[in-house]
Amino acid sequence: MNPNPTILIVDDEQVVRDSLSKWFREDGYTVSVAASAAEALQQLQVQRWDIILLDIKMPGMDGMELQLRIKEIDPTPTIIFITAHATVDTAVKALKEGAFDYVTKPVDPDYLSHLVSNALKQRSLASENVKLKEQISEFCKADEIIGESPQMHKVYEMIQTVAKTDTTVMIRGESGTGKELIARAIHSNSNRRYFPIVAVNCGGLPEGILESELFGHERGAFTGAQYKRKGKLELADGGTLFLDEVGNIDAKTQMDLLRAIETKQFTRVGGNEIIKVDFRVICATNKDLEKAVSDGTFREDLYYRLNVFTIFIPPLRERKGDIPVLANFFVRKYARAMGKSIDSISPEAMDTLVRYNWPGNVRELENAVERAMVVGKSPAIRPEDLPYQLTEKNHVLPTGSLAAVEKAHIASVLEQNRWNISRSAEILQIDRVTLYNKIEKYGLKKPGAA
């Protein structure tokens, strides 16, 4: 509790002001008095008050009207009405307008003492509650959204703009740009932040499993469903549902999801009970959804339902100024985690990082720095600590024929992705079969393969 709470006494009778102020001063409170509503409003400009004792009947503006004006200026003080003429109507009105309590003159000293002490305890709890919520907000803060570039500042502005609304948000950007972090930042800045954000990776789950993951299932709904299970939609009640890789949802689940988003109700797989939920949808994709809509693989109505407010996250190569900021952040992060005394990146190594085009974006940069922190030595990361594909000779494309450039680029992407065909094909924006054909055509060999 504040050791020296402040009390403002507003009463047109001097004897009341004097006796109350004296009584509270003996209790160690900081007390001030006002003989009229006008004086009280002046006092509010001077400082903040914990408790305001208000007389209802005063010449000019009465206590009831003054209460409303006070709430407009500063809604935080606890207001206690104190009056000689109590009626039930005025008491009810005062309490409805937000007063803490209502007492009639003369007041029993014990009652007044307890009333004020209870009011202060309640204020203390309320301020503790605010502090705890702030602490939760701090914990929730997505602290790895780093970037000082104008493009990222625009993203931050968009997060702030949309967070407080309940609008559906679509986050678009290449793989590794940090779409989930943006979703978490929106959630933690929204009014739903004290409820969960539930993430579903729609790309990583087969058709039936995704449906069950989203909507849950009843016992016996399908082979292996031994127990009833709540889906992610139910778990997100009150909070945010984050649908990652939303472009990969199959046709049936798209339809069910659309209905659930529109009506905020659904049934579990194999069940009849209608479950009502309240959630906000944030989704992310790196796919060309417009093309998917025109191809007929993504429902147009779901597309419009999801694509209300779009945030584009620029790829790292388009905001090279952020590379040093991010790289230094990851150095500090991994130095702490690994207990290493490396605290910087040498100018040569930083130059290599900045010149590289980062097809895997921030995720790739983080992996590169993490690797360098493992192999590097104090005090700074050197170019030789960086992954092989970052060195200049590897990312400078050959001159000459188009085929040579294509071969070198495919080889480089395969190398960067450790010969993960799906991922490489995704980055190259070709299908897997085409990639296999190109590998064969150019005679590319996986290192270590026979």
Partner: protein, 160 residues
């Protein structure tokens, strides 16, 4: 009164005297409340002893009030020269209980010390047993001791 005076003297390490106070009680009487305005009595005391360097505590038998409260046990000039204390509500008979003069004197001594503490600039104390703890009903006076906690004693020493 002599006993109360001695207790006060012991606690504060002061010389104490008991004399008759010439107060115009009738001037502080409110017929509608059938009580005496303690602030008005205190003002009389301050006027009468304005030239005095000493602390002057008037003990009265009448029921005291301040306008906004139903009653007070006493009232002091904070960091001043005067205080007024009533034993009207300190007696068991007021609450329909058997007379107990010993208890009444104990209570009176505590209240005199309490108001005198205010004249030395002491505020209400949160220490449960400290005599400077605020008492809004008589049982609370019984709960505290006629004793200043370390913090209040230190403040008192500093004030003096």
């Amino acid at each position: 009164m002599l006993e109360v005076s001695q207790t006060v003297g012991r606690l504060f390490g002061l010389r104490t005297d008991v004399t008759a106070a010439h107060l115009g009680l009738e001037l502080a009487f409110d017929p509608s409340r059938q009580q005496y305005n303690s602030t008005a009595l205190l003002a009389q005391l301050v006027r009468s002893y304005s030239a005095s360097q000493e602390k002057n505590i008037a003990v009265v038998a009448v029921d005291l009030y301040v306008p906004v409260l139903t009653f007070v046990f006493g009232e002091a000039q904070l960091d001043g020269i005067a205080a007024v204390v009533s034993h009207h509500r300190l007696a068991n008979q007021f609450y329909g209980l058997p007379r107990d003069d010993r208890l009444m004197l104990d209570r009176l001594a505590k209240e005199v010390v309490h108001e005198l503490g205010h004249t030395f600039g002491l505020y209400h104390c949160r220490h449960f047993e400290c005599v400077m703890r605020s008492s809004t009903y008589v049982e609370e006076i019984d709960l505290k001791r006629n004793w200043l906690c370390e913090e209040c004693q230190a403040k008192l020493d500093w004030q003096r």
